[in-house]
Assembly symmetry: C2
């Protein structure tokens, strides 16, 4: 079987339209009349992206919120979602969670498709938004001299996931991530590059550096973590926190709460440094 | 487990935005700036919507073409698609078919998501288009006195499916349906109602009648069929042909090849008649 990364590399040959951004960004960005559309689609499978037996209301929340987080990284205003739903265990709970998340973010359900199939449940969601600022932020604009910022802590989702696996469902961080739409809109006119942290801070920072053809040096002592200090390194490599990671010219202070966690340098031998040294080991959740 | 129709009925309570059209239409229709967006999403599962072992290139074709057919029923010009792909058996063949269908219809791949999961392969596709005529055709505008038209034959996909199951892959009708985009655009300014026939002519005609609050009387001898005469009734209840079904005021002749197959009447006790008599039995592919 093909790996995800090999498939995406092959897919890239078909995605030649500029709106696809070479499949290297969080979203497609399509000019249409007087508007700029922002489009994203995520799929989630039982046993891979969510636990079998997890509350379907939380699964619905996460499916919507993670797609809205992609829109947030573009400073987009959501216009609606389309749901691809495979009937599963407790569909009423899924509907309850779907209603909650759509109400919370005031996003309309526009359509979709419902199917019956055997095997692990696979869900898909397309979110559609309109740009509130042009040019639309991308991963590729970071400039040497910029500072690197993060909107909040990493590691909370890791702790939440561990609690959930241990049977403690109190933590919301893994179950019900927040999409930072307001922050993304406030930042969009200012940032030179922005993305959401879905697969791990170090991995996603490396991607931003690669897309921008720069080196990013993260001061790991400056990264705010939700874990005990002993787990700092793990927290920086775990995903699912959906903070916004962005580069700002040195003279600009962000208009929303955020932590300065590093600097953008001219491209050196490594795309990512941690306190000046190239980090070793797995940087985050890699798609194989 | 919930049935598809029960789930969709519950989903309808969440889909209150006018763009969702009450989930009763083929697409969502969203006003945005100077444009009207047309949005549709279909999911397909191995063993349900396509055969296990079917050529993945044909599966890719069908996934794209059936979504484009929904756009055709709205007279829309496609803007692009987003793919939710679960890695499966022969991903290279899927990519080959995807490239073929996107090139054939000149539609860009804008983005999507690729996942690995166990079990039956589940695929999703979102297609996005812009309206070429406003108001955008719906299922609900048919008027008493209109004639009912169909762009071509029904039953070819049924024969193609049977051939494929028998090991004969020559027939394209089931494997590679056509999306009638040009016909849809030509018809959109003229029709009082339009939809594509995906689940069976009789079932879809009944849906159009219900949405329009009229009765449709189909002259079954006038329905063009691709099968021997003995299978006329089956051909009218099988789906997958993706012809356009539409109502036109009596004085209008369609600008594309089409067959007049019935009349629109004031609503009587039954939504659908066949030669003046209410048909019995299953009208098409029902979602349970």
């Amino acid at each position: 079987m093909t790996t995800e990364s090999a498939f995406i590399a092959a897919l890239r040959n078909l995605a030649t339209h500029p709106a696809a951004r070479g499949l290297n960004d969080d979203c497609a960005v399509l000019e249409l009349g007087s508007e700029t559309l922002i489009l994203t689609h995520d799929a989630m499978a039982e046993g891979v992206h969510f636990l079998s037996g997890q509350d379907p209301a939380d699964v619905a929340w996460k499916l919507v919120a993670t797609n809205l987080s992609d829109l947030a990284a573009k400073g987009a205003e959501p216009l609606g979602v389309l749901l691809g739903y495979q009937l599963g265990g407790d569909d009423a709970r899924f509907l309850a969670g779907l209603g909650e998340v759509l109400t919370h973010y005031n996003v309309p359900l526009l359509g979709g498709d419902t199917i019956s199939a055997t095997g692990a449940q696979v869900l898909g969601l397309t979110a559609l938004g309109r740009a509130t600022h042009r040019p639309v932020p991308s991963r590729s604009g970071a400039q040497p001299g910029d500072n690197l910022w993060l909107t909040g802590t990493v590691g909370a989702a890791m702790l939440g996931f561990e609690a959930l696996k241990a049977g403690d469902g109190d933590s919301l961080a893994y179950r019900r991530p927040a999409a930072l739409l307001d922050q993304g809109r406030a930042l969009a006119p200012l940032v030179s590059a922005m993305m959401d942290v879905s697969d791990g801070l170090l991995l996603d920072a490396q991607r931003l550096a690669e897309a921008s053809q720069v080196t990013i040096d993260i001061d790991h002592t400056a990264v705010p973590i939700a874990t005990p200090e002993a787990r700092r390194d793990e927290a920086m490599r775990w995903g699912d926190d959906y903070q916004l990671l962005f580069a700002l010219p040195a003279q600009i202070t962000p208009p929303v709460p955020a932590h300065r966690i590093g600097r953008v340098l001219a491209r050196g031998p490594a795309a990512l440094l941690l306190g000046g040294i190239e980090p070793v080991g797995t940087l985050g959740y890699e798609h194989h």
